[in-house]
Symmetry: C2
Subunit: 414 residues, 2 copies
Amino acid sequence: MSVMIDTAQAAKRAASDLGIASTDAKNTVLNALADRIDTESDTIVRANQRDLDAATQTGITGPKLKRLTLSGDAIGQMADGLRQIAALPDPIGQVTREYDVPSGLRVRRVRCPIGVIMMIYEARPNVTIDAFALCFKAGNACILKGGREAQRSNEALAAIAHDCLRDHDLATASLALLTTSDRNDIRTLLGLDAFIDLVIPRGGTELIRFVHEHSRIPMVQHFHGVCHIFVDRDADVARALDICVTAKTSAPATCNAAEAVLVHEDIADGFIPQLVQRLQSEGVEVRGDEAVCRRARQVVPATSDDWGTEFLDLIMAVRVVSDLDAAIEHVQQFGSNHTDAIITENTATAATFTSRIQSSCTIVNASTRFNDGFQLGLGAEIGISTSKIHAYGPMGLEELTTQRFVVVGDGQFR
Amino acid sequence: MSVMIDTAQAAKRAASDLGIASTDAKNTVLNALADRIDTESDTIVRANQRDLDAATQTGITGPKLKRLTLSGDAIGQMADGLRQIAALPDPIGQVTREYDVPSGLRVRRVRCPIGVIMMIYEARPNVTIDAFALCFKAGNACILKGGREAQRSNEALAAIAHDCLRDHDLATASLALLTTSDRNDIRTLLGLDAFIDLVIPRGGTELIRFVHEHSRIPMVQHFHGVCHIFVDRDADVARALDICVTAKTSAPATCNAAEAVLVHEDIADGFIPQLVQRLQSEGVEVRGDEAVCRRARQVVPATSDDWGTEFLDLIMAVRVVSDLDAAIEHVQQFGSNHTDAIITENTATAATFTSRIQSSCTIVNASTRFNDGFQLGLGAEIGISTSKIHAYGPMGLEELTTQRFVVVGDGQFR
């Protein structure tokens, strides 16, 4: 327990130095880290292989195993990601507004770091480097708790980051990687609101609930993505097919993958058989309501549990809806405020959908997988917030800062 | 308990209507409410008088009694405040950014309501109307829990607001005023994160701690203001005196009133006697360290408890510090991240102070009392956040909203 308190206190101290570190100093560390990750790629792959072996032994397979894998390519991408973050403008010290008020005061709003950010996430080891790099560039120290399955990979990555910090005279406490799996330790940390300013749990129901119950620290949750695509009667069918299929198959274990397709009744006869055939030919198990089962072969009848479920796998739920209202109602009932898309050539229908569905991202005529900090022009992201407070949607550098007021007068009193 | 659940559910339903209410509809209600408050001023004063009588009987006096008082003037200001909020631009639907990304997607960030906001505050009854009006204009329903001492005043105000909502076919659940003082009821509400999106506790340590411990709902706290003024050796002494004295006396029970003055040793001999004399002539009790007691008369020797205390009364702590660093250290140790000011003609000294002190508002050569939404050009405020998450400093209309992404493509998939 006292180890946890020490960790949090050290992070707080590191944060006050990072908060005033120069842009050059921060970018130098990020670029050095990119180079080291490239050079030590073999070490990282070996550590990852030990994680993969252990995971295979415990029966992890498919997309979940893939999510844990750090190939040489993935490591190269991690290094490139660091260079990209180094190249992004430094948000700290940016004056977002500057104006005079009638009393003669000059008011500035200035971006500043949040302080210490704790993040709890699941299997993907590349998150360790992404999260550190974004927190660091935004002047924050971070305390990271990755998935147990990725522990060896995470430790290898953190060791390299610590070397780089040390080489540049910055506190290694700028990045604390927790090695404990004891929930009591995590609970201790979640009580330390004097030292930790924000906690970001990124994962499934159980993790979010645990943090919810035990945290005294403000939380921005990156909860699951139960993402929907509504194929309207005015959809371009060829587009709809490409979008629905790739939104499931390109990365089924990510939070912005689509889980359910809702099809307008008026086009169901023509569309459903094509959709089901395309999905099945890509290895996707289709779970359909009665109206879908009637129109296509080898569809698994959907149970009520299939609506609102994040499968994280090659499974897709498909349902026929009577109209736009029914589609909106379904999304409002079963969605998770993450990402919902409509495929339609009708501008008015699209506008109704995007104004009535207030998910963190609503998309017209493109895949749900574009709800991603990089794809939406934020440069990079630490994850996708499904909280409405502080940040909603992809969190990039700016979303890891806050703003304060700096006011200059010439003797005003009241 | 089930009454609380009903309240929260009704607020959630009201919020989904308010979220799409037109700007005109919202402004009409706000202006009608302003007129009704003017017309029914006598009713409000009578209700308030019953609160004041009860408060006097329980021994409440001084600034605290004043804070509870709704004079005819204060009621007129409340009505004017409503008209000002009606005149402010509607944040909802505002497109804060719009750009294309390389994939060809058009990305918009759009302001949207948070949903249901619960606010728990203490004695001042005008907060009831301000909080409702700001939440309402920003498309949010609100659940308000005011101080028990102001209950009759709050009920009179809420009754008028409900009449106005009803007259304009809007749900009265848009404003729920809690009449319970049972902490178990508040605990029940604080667990209802399915219906309530944000809780804002505005008050002292005990309240903040209670909400902290029991809330599953995201919180932005409006904690106390332990505001400091540092009078540097390069200060304009006449300015410094006006600022220090009024920052305490003009409204001693507000969170942006100054609690402590730190005086640079180099000017202490000349400045301290003048400051103490001016403060005492305005009825302020001065509590000083040894260096202050030595230089002025009738100073109460400060105890360690006096540093870091929000007096909310005509009491001011005064201390001599050796230099800028010592002043910064004192503020970092005893401040509350609310408002801290420096009086100096030296630009470099001011810059060091405002960069190293990262309170929600740092002020050069003006009173701490300018940290206020209206004074800083936000139009109005619901309070001053001392949380770094979501909003830091005065919270106006914009800070009661969030932003979501609306993306339009032409068939992009990945």
